[in-house]
C-alpha cells in the first residue's frame, strides 16, 4: 500500500502564467517518456524481478515517479491557473479546453492522450531493466528539450532537478542490470 505525504519532493512556485509552455510540458505527464509511464512501467514490472534487489529498486523508484507526476502536475496547474478561454485559445489549447476546461489530462505535447502501450513488460529482467534504462535516458533528453524551450527560472529550476533524477535512476538500474548479467539472472 502507499501513504501520501502532503508535500512536493522538490518545491515549485511558478508565479507567471505560460500556456505555451504548459502545452509542451504536458508530455512529461502523459507522453511516452513521461512520469506517468515511468511510474506504471516500474510498478508493473517489479513483481517478476528475480530477487529482492529488483523488487525493492522498482518499488522505490516507481514510488518516486508518483511524486514526479505530482511535481509536473503542479507545474502544469500553476502555468495554466486563472487562464481565460481567450488566452487558452490564443495559445492553441482550445482543443484541450473543449475536452477538459482547465483540468489536467495526461497527453503528450501533440495532445495525444496517454496510452499504456508506452511501456512493455517481458518478464525477462535484463530486457525489462534495459527498457527502464532507456526510459530514463529518453526522459532526460526530453527534459533537456524542455529546458531549451523554457524561459522562466521558476520553471527551469525544477526541470533541471527532475532531469538529474533521471541520471541517478539510470545509474541504479545500470548497477542492477550489470549485477544480474554477471550473475546470469
Amino acid at each position: 500500500m502507499w501513504k501520501y505525504e502532503k508535500r512536493l519532493q522538490y518545491p515549485i512556485h511558478i508565479k507567471k502564467k505560460d500556456l505555451r509552455f504548459a502545452k509542451v510540458l504536458i508530455t512529461q505527464y502523459g507522453g511516452s517518456n513521461g512520469e506517468l509511464a515511468a511510474a506504471l512501467r516500474y510498478l508493473n514490472q517489479r513483481y517478476t524481478m528475480p530477487d529482492n534487489r529488483g523488487k525493492a529498486l522498482l518499488t522505490d523508484i516507481g514510488t518516486e515517479e508518483l511524486a514526479h507526476i505530482e511535481m509536473i502536475s503542479t507545474m502544469l496547474y500553476q502555468l495554466m491557473k486563472d487562464a481565460t478561454p481567450q488566452e487558452i485559445k490564443a495559445a492553441g489549447l482550445d482543443p484541450h479546453y473543449a475536452e477538459h476546461k482547465n483540468a489536467l489530462y495526461p497527453a503528450d505535447a501533440n495532445g495525444v492522450p496517454f496510452t499504456v502501450t508506452y511501456f512493455a513488460t517481458t518478464g525477462d529482467p535484463l530486457a525489462d531493466l534495459s527498457e527502464d534504462m532507456a526510459a530514463e535516458q529518453k526522459a532526460r533528453a526530453v527534459y533537456e528539450n524542455l529546458i531549451d524551450l523554457a524561459t522562466d527560472p521558476d520553471v527551469i529550476g525544477p526541470l533541471l532537478w527532475l532531469r538529474q533524477r533521471e541520471v541517478v535512476h539510470f545509474n541504479r538500474f545500470k548497477e542492477l542490470y550489470d549485477a544480474y548479467k554477471r550473475e546470469g539472472k
Binding site: 511558478i14 503542479t74 527551469i156 533541471l160
Partner: protein, 157 residues
C-alpha cells in the same frame, strides 16, 4: 594469477569491462577501486538536494545551467527545507541500498538521515501542520489534513 594487475592501463569504462568478461573476477586495481569509491561518495544532504543527486561525483550538468539555489525566507521555510533535504538524502541511500544491501557504511548513513528526517518532519508538523496522516498534530479540530493548503497551491510549500 595472470599478470593483469601488473599492467598499468586505465579502463576507459568500468562497465564495458564487465560486459566483455562477465565471468571474470573483477581485478581490484587501485584505479578501479578509486573509480568505484568516487562514484559512491555522497555529499551533504543540502548539496545532494540542490543538485538532485546525493552521489555528487556522478552529477551531470546540462550545458552551463546551474542548479537552482533554494533560500528559505523565514523559519517555517527553513525547517521545511531541512526536512526535504534530509528526507531526500535518506531516499537516495534507500535506492542505493536496494542494489547494494551489504554496504554497512551506507546503511549507517541511511539510518542517520532517516532519523534526522523523521525528527525534522515531526518538529515541522507540530509547529505548522501535518505532512503525514500519522502526525500527532491531527488531534486538533477542525481536521488539519483538510484545512491546510495542498502542495500544488504554491506559497509556503
Amino acid at each position: 594469477m595472470n599478470d593483469y594487475n601488473k599492467m598499468n592501463h586505465v579502463m576507459p569504462n568500468f562497465f564495458d569491462f564487465q560486459e566483455i568478461y562477465p565471468q571474470a573476477q573483477m581485478p581490484k586495481t587501485p584505479q578501479m577501486n578509486q573509480v568505484e569509491k568516487k562514484k559512491e561518495e555522497v555529499g551533504s544532504p543540502k548539496e545532494g538536494y540542490t543538485l538532485g543527486n546525493l552521489f555528487v561525483n556522478t552529477y551531470v550538468p546540462y550545458k552551463n545551467y546551474m542548479p537552482q539555489k533554494l533560500v528559505a525566507q523565514n523559519e517555517q521555510e527553513a525547517l521545511f527545507l531541512k526536512m526535504s533535504e534530509l528526507a531526500f538524502a535518506a531516499h537516495e541511500l534507500n535506492l542505493f541500498l536496494d542494489v547494494h544491501p551489504d554496504d554497512q557504511a551506507k546503511l549507517k548513513l541511511f539510518n542517520q538521515y532517516r532519523q534526522e528526517a523523521n525528527q525534522a518532519r515531526e518538529k515541522y508538523e507540530n509547529q505548522y501542520g501535518p505532512i503525514s496522516i500519522q502526525a500527532n498534530v491531527l488531534e486538533n479540530s477542525p481536521f488539519l489534513w483538510e484545512q491546510l493548503p495542498f502542495p500544488w497551491e504554491g506559497g509556503k510549500r
